[in-house]
Amino acid sequence: MNGEAVWRMTVPPTPLAATDHAFDRLFRAEYERVVGIAARVLGDRAQAEDVAQDAFLALHRRDCSDQPWAGGWVCAAAAHGALNVLRGDRRRHRRERLAAVPAPAADPAAAAEQADDGRVLRAALQRLSPRVATVLVLRHSGLSYAEVASAMNVRQGDVGTMLRRAESALRKEVDRATSQ
């Protein structure tokens, strides 16, 4: 074992032409949803697109776009990538102030309330464990129980329990934050 550079489990990159079709089809089918997942975590669509690009880039390296679980994998990768950005961004407070409200409401009071909810949510997501945050983000990004199970590599029957615990943990985080 020479232990040098990237370990031998690395799959040599496949020529692009061989994977073009499956990758393009998956990208067109999933890109908007993947951006939406990252945007739910970050509240910043430009950053979310960067995270989505990284997730698809990682998927492309793996040469597995034609696998049935590839869509779930890239969703999970985007959620994890976005959570990492959220936790690691030392300028997040500044970003919170500058971030555009994603879905402008006609009512300014409603817009302000939505912005507050976004701040509360992101503060909670930073504190929750990655696994708990991931199940919340995926399910509330519209993934079905089966899709969440595929993305997180768990049994479909376990998703309800995971989601229940995650939502309970989210409430506790919100209650804790708002009581301070």
């Binding site: 799959v11 698809f56 492309h60």
Partner: protein
């Protein structure tokens, strides 16, 4: 009928037909389940409200695809290696890949030593060893080969790094990079421990008979050979989380863990290294690929293997503090661990942070 589970109640909140007729009838008539259902709905509605609108918006797909293609053309897609394709695996191993790495390292070292492929083990370096999920589940069950005697180490929390250092004699390093490291830290001191495994043909036969399977063939020259693994003392600094964090689904998991410990050592009697290694790799539960990995280590007595589950975890070697280290992590970017050994001390820095941040933190540890 039994009360509905929390998970079923959550599914029913989304789809009332997720429950069977009997379960729906029970729910309709059970005050306790209705109250629990009300709590489930309250929490679910809060989450729905908080997430509402956060991810909405239009995205131009074709320009995004073109942008990605330009990265392919510039070589970004092939500039660095990546892990092999994800595989269908059981959940916790996938999600806890980072945590699994150091744990599996210990398991593999103990398994390997106990089953007998290292006669004198005193590692001075680390190296990744590639395992499949099948390899992990197929690691020999030691109870089927003989008897194990474990001397559990003492473990207790102390109030400061200085106290941890005084208790163990280790330097107990703290990272210089603190921007992403929670201020809250706890130190867990672990004393010395040992485990002695003795290959015992009669015990193996008895275990096989109880399990209804064929007994392993233990060569007569190995029957009675013992391997003793010594480990510790060590210190684990836990940054973030809380002392009560034990539940996987809880919100209290630590953000960062820094572990230091004297390198484990092993000794044996009654067998040579070559005999024990031959015996281990000939076991039916050891795949030919894993056997080749074990053979390829080359200097097993001085190398601490870091198990890396193919397709689930990524692995790369780096230079840290002037020695070889292994960076391993979950393939989807959930977290990272850096492991290295220098001057007889094995160090692990692991966290649910970006890979570059964990490496920066590891590299920021002051040299002892």
């Amino acid at each position: 009928m039994r009360h509905l589970s929390e998970g079923m109640l959550r599914r029913v909140h989304d789809d009332s037909f997720a429950a069977s007729n009997d379960e729906r009838a029970h729910l309709a008539g059970c005050d306790r389940c209705r109250q629990r259902m009300s709590d489930v709905a309250r929490d679910a509605q809060l989450a729905t409200r908080l997430f509402a609108g956060t991810g909405d918006g239009r995205t131009a797909v074709e320009p995004a695809l073109a942008r990605l293609r330009s990265q392919f053309a510039s070589g970004a897609a092939t500039a660095t290696g990546g892990p092999s394709a994800p595989r269908r695996i059981r959940s916790r191993r996938w999600a806890l890949g980072v945590i699994a790495a150091p744990v599996l390292a210990v398991v593999l070292v103990v398994s390997a030593n106990a089953a007998g492929w290292l006669s004198i083990f005193s590692p001075t370096t680390v190296a990744p060893i590639s395992l499949t999920v099948g390899d992990v589940s197929g690691l020999p069950d030691l109870s089927g080969y003989g008897t194990m005697h474990v001397n559990q180490p003492d473990s207790h929390e102390v109030g400061s790094a200085a106290a941890a250092a005084a208790a163990t004699g280790l330097p107990v390093l703290r990272p210089a990079v603190t921007a992403d490291v929670p201020a809250q830290v706890r130190w867990q001191v672990i004393g010395t421990g040992s485990a002695t495994f003795t290959l015992d043909a009669s015990a193996a036969n008895a275990a096989a008979a109880r399990a209804g399977r064929a007994a392993p063939q233990i060569p007569s020259n190995l029957d009675g050979a013992s391997v003793t693994v010594n480990a510790g003392p060590g210190v684990v600094a836990v940054y973030g989380g809380s002392a009560t964090s034990g539940e996987l689904g809880g919100a209290n998991l630590p953000a960062l863990i820094i572990g230091e410990g004297l390198r484990p050592t092993a000794s044996t009697n009654g067998a040579t290294l070559a005999q024990l290694e031959d015996f281990l790799v000939s076991q039916p539960s050891i795949s030919p690929q894993l056997a080749a990995e074990i053979r390829a280590i080359g200097q097993p007595a001085s190398t601490l293997p870091i198990p890396v589950i193919a397709g689930v975890m990524t692995s790369q070697t780096i230079t840290i503090d002037g020695v070889r280290g292994v960076v391993t992590g979950d393939s989807t970017g959930l977290g990272t661990a850096v492991i290295w050994e220098k001057d007889g001390i094995v160090r692990v820095v692991a966290g649910a942070l970006a890979r570059s941040e964990v490496i920066s933190i590891a590299q920021s540890l002051p040299v002892a």
